[in-house]
Symmetry: C2
Subunit: 415 residues, 2 copies
Amino acid sequence: MTDLNLMGQRASEARYQLQRARTYDKNRVLIRAAELLRERRETLLLANAEDIAAGEAGGMHSGLLDRLRLTDARIEAMAEGLLQIAELPDCIGEVLERFDRPNGLHIEKRRVPLGVIGIIYESRPNVTADAFGLCFKTGNAVILKGGSDAIHSNVAITGILREALRQSGITEDAVQLIEDTDRSVTAELMKLNRYVDVLIPRGGAGLIRSVVENSTIPVIETGIGNCHVYVDKAADLEMAAEIIINAKTQRIGVCNSCESLVVHRDVKDEFLPVLARSLRENHVEMRGDEEACKLIQDCVPASEEDYGREYLDYIISIRTVDSLEAAIAHINQYGTKHSECIVTGDEEAAARFLNEIDAACVYVNASTRFTDGFEFGFGAEIGISTQKLHARGPMGLKELTSYKYTVVGSGQVRP
Amino acid sequence: MTDLNLMGQRASEARYQLQRARTYDKNRVLIRAAELLRERRETLLLANAEDIAAGEAGGMHSGLLDRLRLTDARIEAMAEGLLQIAELPDCIGEVLERFDRPNGLHIEKRRVPLGVIGIIYESRPNVTADAFGLCFKTGNAVILKGGSDAIHSNVAITGILREALRQSGITEDAVQLIEDTDRSVTAELMKLNRYVDVLIPRGGAGLIRSVVENSTIPVIETGIGNCHVYVDKAADLEMAAEIIINAKTQRIGVCNSCESLVVHRDVKDEFLPVLARSLRENHVEMRGDEEACKLIQDCVPASEEDYGREYLDYIISIRTVDSLEAAIAHINQYGTKHSECIVTGDEEAAARFLNEIDAACVYVNASTRFTDGFEFGFGAEIGISTQKLHARGPMGLKELTSYKYTVVGSGQVRP
């Protein structure tokens, strides 16, 4: 039986040590953890082999098995990730604002850790090291609940992270893994308000929905992307085709890939047949409205539901519109507030699109695939927020922090 | 039957108009609403009289009746509040960051409205105008669910606000009041994720707990304060007494008042008997640990539960501690992360307290009663957040906003 209250208490105590930890000491832990991941490569591969064997025996399909699998390269990438986090500046303690009140109170707004972060994730074991690295660098204690598929790998990785902490004289409870794979434990974690400040789910739509619906702890919703590319009447059509092919096919199965195409009717006759050839060459199935189906022979009629879907697959929906306004309305209706793009040479149309589209990242003439912490230059990423509270879009280290006001007086009382 | 989906849809449409609204037009609505509140004073008083009569008939106790009552002065204060909001700068559209990536992408982080805000509140009808003013100035559409006690007053006030919108050519759906007083409607509102971006409960602990536990929409938790004053061994004891009396008694029943006193043992003998006299004069009941009871004749033994309570009454709990560390541990254990104060002349102790206490506002030598949007100079306040996500402490206009990234390229695709 997992005693979540005990884990919560430990995390809560750890956080006080972490919020005082010096940057130097935090970086030492990250570097030591990277070394240990490399040194213990064999152990990690063995643990992972158990998960893979269980997955194969259970009939797990190849895509999931691939996510689950650790390789030398992936272990090296985990180690490298921790070293990169060590290189990033420590934002904790930063004074964000400073002001004096007429009554002499001196107020500062200082950046502080969130406290205790709960991360609920699915099969990829590298999340264990990544999430720890980001939370730890920002002075947060973390409680991890990984997928049951990856339990052996996650136990092995967490063991190494805790060893690095121990060797550096910092509390091991900076990271704790819930080893119990029972789903009821996840349900219990989602109600651990007393100890956990924030929950971040990382995984598919089902996981995220479940956390949003059941958590009483504040949640940062991440990662569902029904991203659109809108080809305006003033678009450079060659550029539009390149952006669409890139956004759709450069990597399938990621939240910032394009799932839906919106085309202005003035350019549809010229554009759609040409684009269709490229999509076909890239094995992309097309599902469109009547106009699209007229122009593209092998286009399947799209159902209403298609426009709202995140396919994560070689499928794209196509909608033709009569105006920029109609394109904006369509995207705001069906989008998931993730990443949306307009291709246009018309500055006014671009400005309207940027203003009126309600999404974390709005693009003019660039692929939606750039919505990513590394591509934005944050040096790290814990996920992409699709909610509007706290953080929006790619979340790096700063998005794992809060602030407090410190108020220094000389005996002031309120009249 | 209230059709919440329809209200959500209307709010959602209104928000697109609001996010484009010019500052001038928003201010015009606020000024017109203030004028109308003044002009319709009689109508408002009549509507309020119905609520008061129903309250009296239902045996509502005098404190609640007082909160519910509108007077000329309170109507004037509502109007004045809207005019003040009109005077405040409009932060929407502000560019918070601006950076170029090596691939030529130009990224801006721009301040935008949250979108649709739901506010669930209790008996004070002035919240109707205040909440509208703050949400509207920041370009948000708002759906209000007030207490059933205040329904006639809220309907009258909302009618005036909508009239001001209509007269100014802006969609009335910028503010909608749920008139159905059935509790099931509140439950439904808390699940209206499709249309509502954020829920803010304003009221007592019961209301806030219910929203936190039942909402699937992101919530900003506000207002529960079990605030402590810690009297360090290096405290100026006269200053300490003044701060405690002010924080405890200047206004009872508010979240930033002091509920609990922590005293270092080195000063307890000298301090507690003197302080007790002042507390007694102010009719404050004392509940303390063994040491406190030894020194204060009429001090009642405190139960474990007392240390965690937000009395909102003429009661204070008293705990003696052996060290600064013990004081910090006690406060972090029992506090509600609202406002905590140390009284000390020792800079090192002050610095440790500021760093290690986990609360929205941490004070040195000043009353906790200053945790307030106006006292902080924000010019307005929607509430005091006690969570760490998004906003912490007093929330003014900026805390009702989010941001989006706009990314402008020239055909960039991801390699």
